[in-house]
Subunit: 112 residues, 2 copies
Amino acid sequence: MTERSEPIDLLQGTLDLLILKALALGPNHGLGIARRIEQISRGTFNVKPGSLFPALHRLEQDGWLAAEWGESENNRRAKYYQLTASGRRQLRAKSEHWQRVALAMGRALRAT
Amino acid sequence: MTERSEPIDLLQGTLDLLILKALALGPNHGLGIARRIEQISRGTFNVKPGSLFPALHRLEQDGWLAAEWGESENNRRAKYYQLTASGRRQLRAKSEHWQRVALAMGRALRAT
DNA sequence: CACGTCCTATCGAATATCTATAGGAAAGCA
DNA sequence: TGCTTTCCTATAGATATTCGATAGGACGTG
């Protein structure tokens, strides 16, 4: 098993990046994306439906995701999302933005 | 000089932590806190007055800061803030929370 | 005096996330 | 069959935080 501590709330502004990253690992449907985010963050991030679906619709609206209806692995009606080319660019951009923020925060918190 | 690139917007939820950290380096007034945040983040974070003052009032309201009027180094009327004991605890708690987020984000973004 | 700078302050808008709630459809079970 | 649970999507309302714009008082300088 992996070590695991309590899930924590998202930092506002990171959900889009996490969704894009989750989909970069392969197309998936809504709840599957949430599960994948939980998995790659080692249980740290727990994305709730009320946050997830508005975000998915927003990202689709922006042209970063494309969606089509299909069937889940459990025979449920599910909307499958995948990254568009524009979405892959966004993933790169948002990743770099995150790196800059994390680097600056790290420096700031270590300041004496 | 230090390397420096464009300032970027704050991630929502990090301003309180940055203010607490800035004041852990010594008491200061509002604009002085903003300058110190810019300095310890190497010019990455540029806190605007419209964000700063509501945050200061909020933190004071929560009992994490104590304020008193004084004179700035330029003979201006300035309100000096310092951390309370409770504020120091908050700084520790928020720092740890940030570390957990940053660690989980790093892992998630490196996932394959 | 006129002007720029420093410092504090507030309002309105925009944005994102959470909680709570809902419903349909498939699966499991008595 | 009938009942319950699980899976998947969806929305409304509440909350919180930051930004942009704007304001005004006080000091220093030319």
